[in-house]
Amino acid sequence: MSERILIVDDEQHIVRVFKLYLERNGFIVESVGNGKLAMEWLAQNEPDAVITDIQMPIMDGKELCEKLEEEMPDRKFPIFVMTSMTDREHRTWTDKIKNLLFLEKPVSIRELSRKLDEYFAQT
């Protein structure tokens, strides 16, 4: 059974390349342009993982994570957060979020694919 992955990013070519790469590795990839759309999608669907950017219009990645934590406390899927903010200060909010993993920009898509494989192999 192939896993469903939701990519949340407003940068179209990032979404495209992730889709192209991950689909070729056997994942089912869905995408939305911001946090609000992600929440709407998640209300209807249950993914196996969420990959999100932080800077997005309307609802950013931070708000999305906080909302998920609040509204879906029982969620099982991990959230991969793509961030270029390497210093601790900008990450303090992430401490409250369960099952959150960082993807340091520039994200190696090979690395991401491997991490997903490992994650799903464990569960």
Binding site: Q12, V17, R110
Partner: protein
């Protein structure tokens, strides 16, 4: 000792004077006495010589002429009055008490009948001066009249004693007074002499002769020497005092110079001694500490220092281990959280001796701007790294895709390569912006004006931006008069400014709206370019700051869009380099309008051919 001798001398001299005076007085009295006796004696004998003989010898006292005359004369020295006959027999005699007329041989020759002689009183052997004259009877010599007076009067001295005493007393008193006065005058002179001697010795003058006693000549000489010495000393002192005054003036001048330097120092200066008690501060300390200088100087640190952090810092300086080194802190005043103030402590070490510490110099500096700049720079680095990492993210992902999956559809391959190309350009654009800004700020960028056709340039901008516009389904309108004269601009820089405005307009526009670029020639050869969008808009407050370096509006809409706070800043710098101006008008939710107005520099002949 010298004084006592002088006194003795004076007293002796005064006594001698008294004796001489008394002697002279006595002599004078004796002469007067002798003269009186002679007058009395001659007068009485001549008078009696002419008297009738009977009246001379009558025993009836009251009728006797001699007795009457003697009584009339009343000479105290009268001894006797006698009438004798030619044989020397006394015919009549009157005498003072205890006096007896001695027997005497009378002259026989007529020219000797009148005269005087000295006889001795037979009773007490006193000398008597006797006057005699012939006593005539019927024209013939019948005898002699002899009248004697004592030579030396007994009372001559005693009678003058009171006068003498009266005369001698003032002389004597004067002598004593003079002595006392002189003694009084001489005493300080003696002390003076001793002092002069000591002073002279201490000034290096040869010592006076060891023999004591007042030697006026020597004293005068010594005094003269001393005065010369004193004069030379006074001159020397005068010169010394002049040079001291000069050096004092110089010191005051130097101090004033140092103080004026510290007063004109751009930061607040406070100097403290090693007990942390301020002894100098310049005027700028007052607004920073919020305390008057009067309440600072000479006060202990807990009185002038209100801020706990600064107080703790200052108190540490009491420890010599701390105060010998440079140290500094930065604090935020409790009453003004916007401010940042740095306090640096510099040890005031003696230039002669490295171990001697005069105290500490504190420099208070308002570093709010530096702090803001630092913060802005830190934010800038964070933004720039984010801005660089975003295209890098795409580059990395697409190159991995191309590397790992060789058997892709041609369409996907071409798109991937296009993305890689675009993102590389985006990075290059950002790097160029940074480089241009650093060149403009360092003043190294000079305009390279060339002949530019604005129509072509704006069309290029439109073409470049069309891809970006398409992703948001935006429509870009360009309104430009078809035949604008060529301008002289730095083409590359000017293009950056316009690109930044247009890309901002696209970035902050909502999907499906439109962006308009309007170029209008104005009067006085000025050109106006307006870039208008229907995007999120900028608040009135942010409008004032959008051209500041690193400034980005602090709202979620802006934060959600990538940006580095450099585009508008750079655009403004470039337009100003072209002697133009840039302004903004906006309304939240309605859109924004940027206006550039610049003077169209005339194209030179050789350029218009190019």
């Amino acid at each position: 000792m010298k004084n006592d001798k002088l006194g003795l001398l004076l007293i002796t001299a005064s006594l001698v004077v008294i004796v001489i005076i008394i002697g002279l007085l006595y002599q004078n009295q004796a002469k007067l006495h002798e003269k009186k006796i002679r007058i009395d004696g001659v007068a009485i004998t001549r008078a009696l010589s002419n008297t009738d003989f009977q009246e001379l010898v009558t025993e009836i006292h009251s009728n006797n002429m001699i007795a009457t005359m003697v009584e009339v004369q009343a000479n105290t020295d009268f001894a006797y009055g006698v009438v004798v006959d030619l044989s020397g027999q006394k015919l009549y005699e009157t005498a003072s008490a205890g006096s007896i007329a001695p027997i005497a041989t009378m002259p026989s020759e007529p020219f000797e009948w009148f005269g005087e002689q000295h006889v001795i009183s037979p009773g007490d052997a006193r000398g008597i001066r006797e006057f005699f004259a012939p006593a005539m009877l019927n024209g013939n010599l019948a005898g002699f009249i002899r009248v004697g007076y004592y030579n030396k009067p007994i009372g001559i001295l005693s009678s003058a004693v009171s006068d003498l005493a009266l005369m001698a007393l003032p002389v004597f008193l004067l002598a004593v007074l003079s002595y006392l006065l002189i003694r009084r005058e001489v005493k300080p002179l003696g002390i003076l002499s001793d002092k002069i001697e000591k002073a002279s010795l201490s000034y290096g003058l040869e010592p006076a002769s060891p023999a004591g006693g007042i030697n006026p000549g020597e004293f005068v000489q010594r005094f003269d020497q001393f005065m010369q010495l004193v004069q030379s000393r006074v001159e020397q002192k005068g010169q010394e005092s002049f040079s001291a005054q000069t050096s004092n003036h110089l010191l005051v001048y130097k101090q004033e110079k140092a103080e004026s330097a510290l007063n004109s120092f751009p930061d607040a200066v406070l100097m403290m001694d090693s007990a942390c008690i301020p002894f100098f501060s310049n005027h700028k300390i007052e607004p920073l500490l919020g305390v008057g200088r009067d309440s600072i100087l000479g006060q202990s640190s807990d009185e002038w220092c209100q801020n706990k952090e600064v107080l703790a810092f200052v108190l540490k300086l009491k420890d010599p281990n701390t105060s010998m080194r440079f140290s500094s802190i930065e604090y935020v005043p409790e009453d003004n959280p916007e401010k940042h103030i740095s306090v640096s402590a510099f040890p005031l070490i003696s230039p002669r001796d490295k171990d001697t510490l005069f105290g500490t110099m504190l420099i208070f500096k308002d570093v709010s701007q530096e702090h803001a700049a630092q913060q802005a720079a830190a934010e800038f680095v964070s933004h720039v790294s984010h801005e660089l990492k975003t295209p890098l993210n795409s580059l990395s992902a697409y190159s991995e895709l191309l590397l790992d999956f060789t058997s892709m559809q041609e369409k996907d391959i071409i798109e991937s390569i296009n993305v890689i190309h675009d993102e590389a350009e985006r990075m290059a654009g950002l790097i160029n912006n940074l480089l241009n800004i650093s060149m403009i700020e360092s003043g190294n960028l000079k305009l390279a004006r060339k002949r530019v056709k604005l129509n072509d340039m704006m069309q290029d901008v439109l073409n470049t931006m069309s891809n970006l516009a398409q992703t948001k389904d935006l429509k870009i309108n360009l309104n430009i008069p078809p035949e604008l004269n060529p301008l002289r601009l730095d083409k590359e820089l000017f293009r950056i400014a316009v690109d930044n405005l247009v890309s901002n307009a696209i970035k902050y526009s909502e999907n499906g709206s439109s962006v308009t670029i309007e170029v209008t020639p104005l009067e006085n050869e000025q050109i106006q370019i307006i870039v208008r969008d229907q995007g999120i808009g900028i608040s009135e407050e942010d409008c004032k700051k959008v051209f500041l370096k690193y400034y980005r509006a602090s709202n979620k809409e802006t934060a959600s869009r990538s940006g580095h706070g450099l585009g508008l800043y750079l655009a403004k710098q470039i337009i100003e380099l072209h002697h133009g101006s840039i302004s903004v008008e906006s309304e939240i939710g309605k859109g924004t309008e940027f206006t550039i107005i610049f003077k169209a520099a005339p194209v030179q002949l050789e350029e218009s051919q190019a």
